[in-house]
Symmetry: C2
Subunit: 154 residues, 2 copies
């Protein structure tokens, strides 16, 4: 399935919600309510996002969460790696040269290129895109081109 974990999904939804009201401080309970998800789980997700530096938090009354930087500067890749760790399709593609099967594998190189292309794609999609209801515009296009270019040998 090549699927995101459910928590990552939540993270995206919550981030989008915050992005739509950037100047407000969002309490975990409020967000959970708005998004119709269990509070403790949302809370857990928020903590991970803070730790990853995508959100800032403020304790105490009137506290809550805000974006650490503008939505246009937070990417889908950021959100995914905040929850799931680095975006990589295979074990190989995160840590180079640590696969004992590399010798018999014979697929690693191009698989890593594919992985890189996906990562680049995800880096080109911002939270601003996700939060907007309008279709994603051009950014999807450029980075992939540059990848395929750099990957061309001949």
């Amino acid at each position: 399935m090549l699927k995101l974990s459910r928590l990552t999904d939540y993270a995206a939804v919550v981030m989008a919600q915050i992005a739509r009201h950037p100047q407000a401080s969002h309490a975990a309970a409020d967000l959970a309510e708005t998004v119709q998800l269990p509070h403790p789980t949302v809370s857990k997700t928020l903590k991970m996002l803070v730790k990853a530096g995508l959100l800032t938090s403020q304790r105490g009354a009137q506290g809550g969460y805000r974006l650490a930087r503008p939505a246009s500067q937070i990417t889908a890749a950021d959100i995914i790696s905040a929850i799931e760790g680095p975006v990589a399709m295979t074990e190989c593609s995160q840590a180079q040269g640590e696969c004992e099967l590399a010798a018999t594998c014979g697929v690693a190189d191009n698989w890593q290129r594919v992985s890189l292309a996906i990562r680049t794609l995800l880096e080109s999609v911002t939270l601003a895109h996700l939060a907007a209801s309008a279709p994603i515009k051009l950014p999807v296009q450029l980075p992939i081109q540059s990848i395929s270019l750099s990957a061309v040998s001949a």
Copy 2:
């Protein structure tokens, strides 16, 4: 991590191995040996690939597995979905309109576009590419462009 399951990884490696000797019949045991993976597991993977129509099998002595069609007509997306089911980043993106949270989600649309872009990318990478040690050439480029074009609203 947005990671492939290990079995999918195996599948790619095994498929590539078969693709490199397309005219031979490959017994599961031989493949397992070549690829340095446990036989029963490789065997299981092969069965899934047959069921998905990517390989054909021949029983009996001198039997084994062959590609069901040329490596250039088998895509990374084929292999992935043979093992993991349809390529989709979220539950949403496989079955439209079955997400009860769609109303409060507000991310579904663009998330699905991203998912589609990834699927298209994976469909543009063939087994022939994976099996070759040479870097992937142009095909990565076109489909993504066409996506971003169709996704452009303005």
